[in-house]
Symmetry: C2
Subunit: 392 residues, 2 copies
């Protein structure tokens, strides 16, 4: 009996778990303190009315013989896939429903997708980035290369045509830096991937926050991507679904490697290891893409963006350098006084009772940076801003 | 870029997908035929009223700021884990809540658990059995040994103390044969696993169908299992949750291998690759374990058992040899006239318009056998029984 190799190589604590543990400790020591959590990217606004309506309607359907539903079809229900197809149509992109796979979220998808690739492939991972890419790549026995995202390149690394990699992670808008690629910039990555047989895993979880028109909303806006990219999306941030669990991946039928269709491999992986998303949740996701549902969801996004604006203004006042917050729900700030990320974390928690996420948890280039999320309530965000002013 | 090795070795079609494809073909050829599906183990009765109530209540909570919930805690909500803990207490088993991991179902769990073990371990898999064990073991690069489940051993293989394996799959009551181990029989497997450092993956998805008192309801009824076993359970069959997606695994804190806690490894795997089960679904599962919910769910189980009885009676009349149907929702019959499993499948579909599952899809010992599920409605089961009588 041998346990998994990663048990010896993976860092002991998942970043957000480490933050949660520190927070728990602090809370039990100072139960009276009113903590504002701007750490984990968890939403705070309730679900849209349309979503709740669809949800309760579907729940009641499950209570009647005539409308009860058992196992979901592999890959998800057509009613939801059609709505997603329409969303892509609005961007001028043709996606077939058999290219869409409904899942319980982008985190699961971005992890599970590695099942269709051999271990020993070389993964190119931005640094800093969402730690799940690195952790799951280690778990799957991949070789790791990093693409440095630093102030000098506006946190947007470009491909190095002299190097060969197999799997390329792109998160745009980026978590944690908030940096987002333009279509022209993404075209370079696509040319690179096509030139060296690599596959781009494109995480578009924060697409709903994009407002600049030249930014890339879907990698499939660049047609050449269909032979080299898989796109991952989530309802977590676009519709407040963190507690609802729904997302999807798009694997183009044109995407082949070693003469095999990656779409077929992914479909087989889904059929073998997964049993679909609850019917009720798929109906809820569908409702979030109805005309009324979209309006409500956009209102929430606006609300969070206004939070970002408030924080940005305070940081400007404090002359603290920061990035993001415009096409992204995250603000990526440089820790004042040359503090390390965890020093600043402890300082914020102890002195201001504010929780954020240490930049170093996202990679070595994240050291001395810090991530604030804009998902708290307006009231708490304003209160946090007041506390920040005390930093001066 | 190398795609996964399993893409070359895994059989092309997941069993239930193959059945679904044949069914689809038949339906498009004969759209007027009224087909009775006794194939996939999908339930047909609507959810319990208590479950629907909890579900709609939770959905409405998600629509209000004051009661909205984002990400679930890693491993699941305490309200559900407490209820599960109480269920085990009723069996005289002490389980800590940190040993319980809520998931989207036993299929996902039984697949994902292999992430905590190294590839190259030897898996002992019953033949015949639920195909997911074999497929996912192949996917994870395990060595495979089979434990023959045949008529001569009442489809209940015993351990071979002269052989060493690392991971042992047990499904009791078994899918597809319906055979279930007694506590004494399970004790042998536990002694064997403890003697050779193996881990038993105990799939108790069909536990709700057990009525004989000497049968094993939980592997933890045998105390020595805490150092060698992980138990997997599902709400799919006990509460009709196939379209709701909820299950759980129990990894004892005493379960160590290579000086590592498997509980910690599984927790880390959960935190890294999974984001939990929807709050609404966890509330629904909780309600299925309330006093009222349990009564309703037991009524459904009784209903399905009555279906099994009806089918059993017809098979007896027809002098078709069969197993199961008593402590299991499946009837495992010997194909009449020495037909192969797929021949009988085609015959049933063509001539009687009944869909079942070919035994050979569950392993080589399943050849010439056939699985019928008892999850159809009473009306359809009765109609199927009438059609079966035409077999004579």
């Amino acid at each position: 009996m041998k346990i998994a190799n990663w048990s010896k190589t993976l860092k002991n604590n998942f970043l957000f778990q480490a933050v949660a543990d520190k927070l728990k400790q602090f809370k039990s020591k100072y139960p009276e303190k009113e903590i504002i959590n701007m750490g984990i990217g968890d939403v705070s606004l309730p679900l849209a009315d349309e979503v709740i309506k669809a949800c309760t309607f579907a729940a009641n359907e499950m209570g009647k013989s005539s409308s009860f539903r058992g196992y979901s079809p592999n890959g998800g229900y057509d009613f939801l896939k059609q709505k997603i197809k329409d969303e892509y149509k609005n961007l001028g992109i043709l996606v077939n429903t058999d290219e869409i796979f409904i899942s319980d979220g982008a985190k699961s998808d971005m992890s599970n997708i590695l099942d269709i690739f051999s271990s020993g492939n070389t993964c190119l991972i931005p640094d800093p980035v969402y730690p799940v890419y690195l952790d799951t790549s280690i778990m799957e026995g991949m070789k790791i290369e990093f693409a440095n995202a630093v102030e000098q390149n506006n946190f947007l690394p470009e491909p190095d045509f002299n190097k060969k990699v197999d799997i390329i992670y792109v998160c745009s808008p980026n978590n944690p830096t908030g940096a987002a690629y333009t279509k022209n910039q993404m075209k370079k990555w696509i040319d690179y991937a096509n030139s060296c047989d690599a596959v781009i895993l494109y995480d578009a979880a924060y697409e709903a926050f994009i407002e600049d028109n030249d930014l890339c909303r879907s990698i499939f806006e660049i047609p050449e991507s269909k032979t080299c990219a898989i796109e991952f999306k989530s309802f977590s941030k676009s519709a407040g679904f963190t507690g609802m669990r729904c997302g999807y991946s798009i694997v183009p039928n044109d995407l082949q490697r070693e003469n095999a269709s990656l779409n077929h491999l992914w479909s087989r992986r889904h059929a073998t290891k997964f049993n679909g998303v609850p019917y009720i949740i798929q109906r809820a996701a569908e409702a979030s893409l109805s005309d009324e549902g979209k309006l409500e969801c956009q209102k929430s996004i606006k609300y969070y963006k206004q939070n970002a604006k408030l924080i940005s203004e305070v940081l400007n006042k404090l002359s603290i350098k920061f990035f993001g917050g415009l096409n992204s729900p995250y603000i990526w700030l440089k820790c004042p006084n040359n503090m390390t990320s965890w020093e600043f974390f402890d300082y914020l928690l102890q002195d201001l009772n504010i929780v954020g996420t240490p930049g170093s948890g996202f990679g070595k280039n994240g050291e001395n940076y810090f991530r604030l999320s804009c998902f708290a309530s307006r009231e708490k965000t304003q209160e946090a801003c007041n506390r920040f002013l005390k930093l001066l």
